[in-house]
């Protein structure tokens, strides 16, 4: 568990390079006089270690990584590195299908992967917006004609918070499901609209998102999706880290039940 934040504003001198590492997974930035260079070394398997910020002197094995060049007339010295939630909704599934009985309420915890972003200051231009581990594509919807493209993999959905492993490259979303319908609600998969959520960090530097409440009422197939305004209560002494990718004025959205649960 990383106790030191890997995000924030970083100052780069010319020719200085800095890298963010989880095991072998490495993202490196280097400032030159009139260009920025980035190296993105991906690995196949997810690593649960801490994210280490380092200042290597040589490029070394990273030469095999995906290389990017960003040209500027004169580079500025400040870069803001922030975690950001995924650019599509994420589907998570509990270990076994859950049945929420009629008239009941439950709180689930879903962990989803975060993206690494680097913005040049003061113009806030994006240098990088990459996932630590890219989840697989997936489809979520009642049929192959109606639905949306989302991500699956590298997720977990648990009823007890203790059962969710806290990782520095994942954020936890608490989801409260209220089933006021007279029939039970079967949850095999949950579609978490992470693009609408804010990102917070707690005192342990664990990432959290705003909570979601799903209200399912009697006599309707639609559900109300309430987006909380604050950090969840489980995140102690939390601080806002980053806003949502898609800004939404409304805090209550109406969705069809099939677009959230399957």
């Amino acid at each position: 568990m990383a106790n030191k934040a890997w995000w924030g504003e970083f100052t780069f001198a010319i020719e200085q390079q800095r890298c963010w590492k989880i095991g072998e997974r490495t993202i490196m930035l280097k400032r030159l006089g009139n260009e920025w260079n980035s190296w993105n070394l991906e690995t196949l398997n997810e690593d649960d270690g801490a994210i280490v910020v380092d200042e290597p002197t040589d490029v070394g094995t990273i030469e095999t990584a995906k290389f990017g060049r960003y040209l500027q007339q004169n580079t500025s010295d400040k870069v803001r590195v922030l975690p950001l939630l995924a650019d599509r909704s994420i589907v998570a599934r509990p270990d076994t299908p859950l049945t929420l009985l009629a008239g009941e309420k439950s709180r689930l915890f879903v962990s989803t992967p975060v993206w690494f972003t680097a913005q040049l200051l003061p113009k806030e231009e994006y240098l990088l917006d990459v996932p630590f581990w890219r989840p697989s594509d997936s489809w979520f919807g009642p049929s192959t004609q109606v639905g949306q493209i989302c991500y699956a993999k590298y997720t977990a959905a648990r009823v007890q918070l203790n059962n969710i492993e806290q990782r520095p490259h994942r954020a936890i979303t608490p989801i409260t499901v209220i089933n006021n319908h007279d029939k039970p609600l079967i949850i095999e998969r949950i579609n978490v609209p992470v693009t609408l959520l804010h990102l917070f960090s707690d005192e342990q530097q664990q990432l959290w998102t705003t909570g979601i409440s799903v209200h399912r009422d009697r006599h309707t197939d639609n559900v109300e999706l309430h987006l909380d305004k604050h950090a969840p209560v489980e995140a102690l002494s939390s601080a806002l880290i980053n806003g949502p990718r898609v800004k939404s004025e409304q805090s209550i959205l109406i969705r069809s039940i099939s677009s959230l649960f399957a």
């Binding site: 196949l44 589907v91 890219r134 989840p135 697989s136 594509d137 997936s138 489809w139 979520f140 192959t144 004609q145 639905g147 493209i149 699956a152 993999k153 998969r189």
Partner: protein, 286 residues
């Protein structure tokens, strides 16, 4: 000066003046129709699809043009009610004279109403696959992937089956695989599902489908169906086939090619076959 005024008076009295007026009205109307339709489409450009824009532009353009034409005809003293009466006779004559064009025209209208595809969609008609670049009254124009321009008459579009490849966001790739009879099918199934799981552009849902299609002449035939976003369809097919070949080679799973065994029946023993490279070389040399 006096002569000029007299000339204008004379012109006014003759039919020529009305005719020039009508022609001018038509030309101005044509320009106005173009400008107005273009301007309106520009205004609503961001809210509409390319197809919708084209439809709107044409409706406005032809609407204005018809009104202007009626007004121009009225100007030269042609009574429209007589013209409409003559239209019945005219239609029969036109019908015989331009059967194909009329049929294409009607088919074009139906195509526009039915909208089986829009501009920028990729469609397949008979053996032609390409991107729709325009849907006109007489024909649909396609750009094929080898960058050819194909014009397909609307009539044949209505008559034949048209497949729209870009209708839905996801597509299924059916991979045909053959494995040797000696292989463990259950193991192959696990390997294939594992390859699909590791491929990031292969959709997790709908899940990949493993179908044993039958016992072929030299292999056990398998269809492995995987889903991808339609823009990743070809990449998925390629990467999956490459990954399957690589993994099968690593795991020692044989992908057989057609075998032919010569066999002389049960009563006789099989032909004794042996391969000897040295002997073969000598025979070839002598």
């Amino acid at each position: 000066m006096k002569e000029f005024i007299e000339f204008v008076e004379l012109l006014k009295a003759s039919h020529l003046y009305a005719l020039i007026q009508a022609v001018l009205l038509f030309i101005v109307g044509f320009i106005v129709a173009r400008l107005v339709s273009g301007a309106i489409v520009n205004l609503v450009k961001h809210k509409m699809t390319v197809h919708g824009q084209l439809l709107l532009k044409r409706s406005i353009f032809y609407g204005i043009l018809v009104l202007v034409s009626i007004s121009a005809l009225d100007n030269i003293g042609i009574d429209l009610s007589i013209l409409l009466g003559a239209a019945g006779v005219f239609t029969v004559a036109l019908g015989f004279a331009s059967q194909t064009s009329a049929s294409n025209l009607i088919s074009g209208l139906f195509l526009m109403i039915e909208r089986p595809f829009s501009i920028t969609d990729v469609i397949k008609v008979n053996d032609i696959t390409g991107e729709v670049i325009s849907i006109d009254l007489l024909s649909v124009k396609l750009r094929t992937f080898d960058n050819l321009f194909v014009r397909i008459p609307n009539e044949s579009m209505i008559k034949s089956a048209v497949t729209t490849l870009t209708k839905y966001p996801i597509r299924r790739a059916d991979l045909k695989i053959g494995i040797a009879y000696k292989e463990d099918i259950e193991r192959v199934r696990t390997i294939l599902l594992d390859i699909a799981e590791k491929n990031l552009i292969c959709l997790v849902e709908p899940a990949p489908v493993f179908i044993l299609t039958g016992f072929g002449s030299s292999s056990v035939d398998i269809q492995f169906s995987v889903w991808a976003r339609r823009e990743n369809f070809l990449t998925l097919k390629n990467t999956m086939y490459m990954e399957i070949k690589k993994t099968f080679d690593q795991q020692g799973i044989e992908i057989p090619f057609p075998h032919v065994s010569l066999y002389a029946g049960t009563a006789t023993s099989p032909f004794p076959l042996s391969s000897n490279a040295e002997n073969l070389d000598k025979t070839t040399l002598s």
